[in-house]
Amino acid sequence: MHNIYQRNVILLFFGLTCSWASYAEVVVVVNPQNPIQAMKIDEVRDIFLGQSGEFPGGDLAIPADLPEGATRDAFYMKVADKSPQQMRAYWLKLIYTGKGIPPQKSSDSAALKKLISKNQGVIGYIDEKEVDNSVKVIPLK
């Protein structure tokens, strides 16, 4: 009796954490022809913060952003530990001192996937649920 109750609680808790995790699970995606297989979080961060223009192998990397929203906020929190307010200030400083240009923004995840499927060097991020065979998911080390 006691055991069954305990197991149910564990299952319920497990279910809740899973649904919470899948709610904001952002994945990094590239063109399926891109030879890259996995990346470190810092490597992804450097590309999206304009500090590196290359994939680890040396190929040209072009980052592409999603519009303002939960997926973008979760992505920058995950790779750069920066809030939307910090990201705004970060880019303003670089743009208006001529030191950098932010990733170009796609209008939504469908447009982003289209951009990636047409350009081998583009790297983006989408909600895990949006993944299809037009893009390749890059596991983060």
Partner: protein
């Protein structure tokens, strides 16, 4: 002459714009030319009519109990184009009130940048001067926690750009990123020093280095050059008085004193050490600075400390800042004789040398409304060291208590 040159540069950008846009089609929607803009709408009101608050030393009029809508207001536009993988150009125009109360756009940045590799970029043209931690983007208020950088610290070097060259050298040191930036050029600005004066630094050189790791940034900077302020009529009258033959007859040091006070081609230097801790929930910023200036221009030390806490889109903050004068506040070279001209000369010298110090305690709140719009309101309490000089305030009237409050409201936007 210069305006002609700059309008040629803008024409070039306008002509190249559509060409580069066209290029986009071939590059499958990847952009190579960008136009963007930013601005601030501001409002300042104080509780005194005995002095006027100004945001920087290039304003002759400021805010008092009658509100001022324009001292913090500015609008800017920037064009950036990639001409090749390595060569890019940036042009930034800003329109805000200047000393002559004109709002005609001035060129803040106009440079070509050449990227040699991932580590080294060279730039030439008009460049924002990096004297302070946030000085090269001091006009981009949305990038900063406050309504404006405090005049106590940022007022010490009232030059926002130089015409020259710089190098940006980036490298990784362990887990930190090191950026070193040497620069060389010349700079000029019209300032308010009781009267409009032209201040020039030529040549100007400097070096700064910043080390970033995670949320932390540590930055040190040094700048030096030759300063000239030649057109201040009252100061020139004092210098003429000191060099007058009748005076030098019984004051042998007076003429040498005039040479000392004069600001023509004399060494000026500035050092800054800054720290920033920038977390999703909190921001701490501090700078300590030292200015060594020649002649009548005072030596100063200044610092500020800012702390902000971020409750999501709402960030309350506190700032303390202070500037103190470290050079002599009076001079007794001229003998104290009961002759009116001599007394006037002594008064003039001591008035010019007197304490420019002041301190400010500020409390404010920033609200990020959207990703391109924020609202800030800040209440400052200003206390000046010498009420007859009135610190950085202008139009100081007799009887000024030296203490007042200033309320500022700004809206920063990008477009």
């Amino acid at each position: 002459m210069r305006h002609k040159k700059l309008s040629k540069i803008s024409a070039l950008f306008i002509l190249l714009g559509p060409l580069l846009q066209l290029n986009n089609v071939f590059a499958d929607d990847l952009q190579q030319f960008r136009l963007s803009g930013f601005g601030t709408m501001g409002f300042v009101k104080t509780n005194t009519d005995d002095a006027e608050f100004v945001p920087s030393p290039d304003y002759s009029r400021g805010a008092s109990t009658s509100p001022d809508w324009l001292i913090d207001s500015a609008i800017g536009a920037q064009a950036t184009g990639d001409f090749s993988n390595n060569l890019s150009g940036t042009l930034q125009l800003i329109s805000k009130r200047d000393l002559g109360h004109s709002y005609s756009p001035s060129t803040q940045w106009a440079f070509l940048a050449y990227r040699f590799n991932n580590h080294i970029t060279a730039r030439a043209g008009r460049l924002g001067s990096p004297y302070f931690m946030v000085s090269d983007y001091r006009n981009i208020n949305a990038a900063n926690p406050w309504v404006r950088p405090t005049i106590d610290v940022y007022g010490q070097v009232p030059f926002s750009y130089e015409d020259g060259v710089d190098l940006i050298i980036r490298s990784n040191v362990g887990k930190s990123r090191l950026t070193v930036q040497p620069f060389y050029g010349k700079s000029k600005n019209k300032l308010w020093w009781g009267a409009a004066v032209t201040a020039k630094i030529n040549p100007l050189w400097g070096l700064n280095a910043s080390l970033e790791q995670g949320p932390y940034t540590l930055r040190i900077g040094h700048a030096a050059g030759n300063l000239t302020i030649a057109d201040h009529e009252n100061l020139n009258l004092i210098l003429d008085g000191l060099r007058n033959d009748l005076l030098t007859a019984f004051c042998s040091e007076c003429s040498a004193r005039a040479d000392h006070f004069e600001v023509i081609n004399k060494n000026v230097s500035f050092q800054d050490i800054g720290f920033q801790g920038d977390w999703p929930r909190m921001l701490i910023m501090a700078e300590y600075t030292r200015r060594l200036a020649p002649g009548f221009a005072p030596d100063t030390n200044a610092w500020y400390l800012t702390g902000a806490y971020r409750f999501g889109k709402i960030s309350p903050y506190l700032t303390l800042s202070k500037v103190i004068q470290t050079s002599a506040k009076q001079d007794n070279t001229v003998p104290n004789l009961p002759i009116e001209e001599i007394q006037l000369l002594r008064d003039g010298i001591n008035q010019t040398l007197s304490d420019v110090g002041q301190q400010t305690r500020g409390i404010g709140i920033r609200w990020d409304l959207t990703e391109s719009l924020d609202f800030k309101t800040q209440l400052d309490h200003v206390s000046v060291a010498n009420t007859s000089v009135g610190g950085y305030n202008v139009d100081v009237k007799p009887g000024f208590s030296g203490h007042y409050n200033a309320l500022s409201v700004t809206l920063d936007f990008e477009f």
